[in-house]
Symmetry: C2
């Protein structure tokens, strides 16, 4: 790794320099299943959750690194256990060195041969690495007194290129190509940063489209979305074709011809089922079909893309790592690449994925929603716009109006756009009172809930 880090110049490493003193974990669960928020064809009753981690230091600046993996309820404790398995790798490390080179930790965690066996680079263990790596980036950006998007956009291309693990992707992206893309991204970056601060980054909303909502609620929320300035909405599909036809008709009637309607099957179909289903919805002019089948199926997505054109194919929220994304791009299997902030190994791997997308000229439209995913992923798209792709054309970040109040630096929307964050860090920090309330099973909400259920049972 080179010595061009944005923080290395400002902090001196010495004996007695600050260290990571604790890796504290929290099992946070919100009772979202009670309102059918987030219901789709594969996930009928999610309890939006976070396996949450705080890195504490003995620096006298009072700063902490916050990170998390988003899950939807059961198993969040397994995810927490996986984060705890990384603790020994992190406690005692130099804060200065970690923040000067998060890629060092990222590679080190990914390369732990014993933990690697549990993936490799996928599922619970890989998401745990992502949570910890993201927490380091949060801390690094806070120490640099910048929001993460600006911390990244201001970094030297050489340093950013060195933050990437090229293992298994050099056949698609070499370090030299990455550096060239990052250098190209610097042209005009200052002007784009100004524009971003002025108008924000375009979003689209999934709030109207959950499967569990009535047609009346769908109509009302779809109209509200247009009134709020969104130019794209998304509907969940895939459980029942007749219902999908009716709901697409209702949505199209509500928003008119000029608003894009994306549809999302949440992996519901086999490869050979997707084509006919999409053709049956074609009259409603769907903009993209998202997650038509398993996120693992590169060849399947390529076949589906051919079958449903001109409807675009989008996937990524469940794509496990840069290696599958690489193949989706190599195979021409997707029109839209949907990164997720907490599915892969953190900012470093998402940088690799953004670079792969830039190399192949495929627009990145991040997955968000859940718990804190909007807060995190906006930084990656804003960096992408300012200092990599250089454009927001055909690029939108998903927006869902859930659970933002639990964060100290919640996303702000204006006219359907994400407003560029100004607070230092990755916007990952949850309010302490939210953690105390929704910690599972001992937080105040869950304790009261249990007591109320016991009362009902006794009565």
């Amino acid at each position: 790794m080179t010595d061009t880090s944005p923080v290395a110049a400002t902090v001196t490493v010495a004996d007695g320099s600050p260290r990571i003193t604790a890796v504290d974990t929290y099992n946070i669960r919100f009772p979202t299943s009670r309102e059918l928020d987030g219901s789709d064809a594969m996930n009928p009753d999610p309890d939006y959750s976070a396996a949450y981690v705080i890195l504490r230091t003995d620096a006298d600046d009072g700063l902490e690194g916050h990170g998390f993996t988003f899950t939807i309820g059961r198993g969040n404790d397994v995810q927490v256990a996986a984060i705890e398995a990384l603790r020994a790798h992190i406690v005692g490390r130099s804060v200065t060195e970690l923040c000067a080179d998060p890629g060092w930790l990222s590679s080190d965690l990914t390369a732990d041969s014993q933990l690697r066996w549990l993936g490799p680079e996928k599922g619970v263990m890989h998401m745990a690495i992502g949570a910890v790596v993201n927490a380091v980036w949060d801390l690094a950006a806070k120490r640099a007194d910048k929001p993460l998007w600006r911390f990244l956009a201001d970094a030297e291309p050489e340093w950013l290129a060195d933050q990437i693990d090229y293992r298994y992707i050099t056949d698609a992206l070499t370090p030299a190509e990455a550096l060239a893309l990052l250098k190209r991204g610097r042209d005009g970056a200052a002007q784009r940063a100004v524009r971003l601060r002025g108008t924000g980054y375009p979003g689209y909303t999934t709030s109207p489209g959950w499967l569990g909502y009535s047609d009346e609620k769908l109509t009302r929320l779809a109209r509200q979305a247009v009134a709020d300035g969104f130019t794209q909405i998304k509907l969940k599909v895939g459980a029942n074709l007749d219902d999908d036809i009716r709901r697409c008709r209702v949505a199209r009637a509500a928003v008119g011809a000029d608003i894009r309607i994306a549809i999302d099957a949440n992996q519901r179909w086999n490869v050979d089922e997707a084509g006919a289903w999409i053709r049956a919805l074609a009259e409603f002019d769907p903009y993209w079909i998202e997650e038509p089948t398993s996120p693992d199926d590169v060849l399947g997505h390529a076949a589906i893309r051919e079958a449903v054109a001109p409807v675009k194919v989008a996937t990524g929220e469940h794509v496990q790592n840069r290696i599958i994304f690489k193949q989706l791009l190599q195979a021409g299997a997707i029109d839209v690449l949907q990164i997720d902030a907490t599915r892969v190994g953190g900012v470093n791997e998402n940088l690799a994925i953004l670079l792969l997308a830039a190399k192949y000229g495929v627009p990145v439209c991040p997955h968000a929603g859940g718990v804190g995913l909007c807060e995190l992923v906006q930084h990656l798209s804003m960096f992408d716009y300012v200092a990599l792709s250089g454009t927001t054309e055909n690029r939108v970040i998903e927006y869902v109006d859930h659970l933002h109040d639990h964060f100290t630096d919640p996303v702000r929307m204006a006219h359907g756009h994400y407003v560029a964050p100004t607070a230092p860090g990755f916007s990952a920090q949850m309010r302490p009172e939210s953690i105390d309330t929704y910690r599972y099973p001992d937080g105040t909400f869950w304790a009261a809930d249990r007591a109320a259920q016991e009362e009902v049972t006794e009565a």
Copy 2:
């Protein structure tokens, strides 16, 4: 699911029928890193481990279902936590119904939408499902008083075809095709079962080839392997080309021209590195190159296969599920398919993979070694031979002479062949004293080890 189960006919379901009463888990760790057994280019110091599960029932037959996930040390506790997250799905279920239709549980666990988010169908959560599903098959075979391979080989094709989750694979294998393959496999099955009992199933050995061994030890063990009747050995490669050239030369000199030498890079290379490395070893006539790169890289394996022909390409021990295997076959990316008994979702998913391999005509040569992997996977290959592929041509099961003594029904080798098990079940049951000794961190071995280390520290 149809009613042609091999056990459904013999047991009557009624009120008061036996139930699963407990799902007990154990974190078992063996100190294998101290001898460099199992050392390879990616895994320099594995502590072979098992996240172990016992299903207990209130039946009066005293039978238990045993299953496990193999890991290599750190993180085994995370794997145990994942198995425990499944407990609520299993306790209280009817033993009779479970054993009559393990596919019911398999689908049910895979479809838990909240747990599915942690994969889907990959990594820690999926391997946990595999452990539990395998334990049910162990119990089912014990209740039928048959070794698992015979339990499967005796089952009706219709019932077996119904044990498979076809989601995401119908573009490569339809239920009708699976049934036809299973029916074809019945032709001559009885004669093949007789032959199997007589001569066993061919194995090959990796024991000589670990990276940590000296040339002298490699020579000695390679000669021993030939003397023991093996016709194939395997060497670990990929860390250092000069070392690999030397070790391949030593091995070829030790075994002569007629013994197959497979080489195994354990995912060490990028796609564009593999070709040159293999060409540099070509003079030693390697039979297959195993895991040349990431197990996620379908297109990469296809490119490597083209680059290294006529050396065969093998992979599978880290392939996460049937969906990646499907694509490896569709893309013509592998010559040899290496199933693993505890990486995927258990027997049911391995049946799907065996059927996919049969459909595409690719030989299955299982990965084994570790803890209990030989014990388990032999049953799947023996079923494959007797009642599906109908041949052992170019098919060998990996054999490593480690840790078998800890099992109540250890594998037996004769003249380089696996002897067909006769004890009822899946050969998955560990000796109680081994569990007590190697339970981590409280087993007697680890407690004594800690005490000895403290003594050294104090002295």
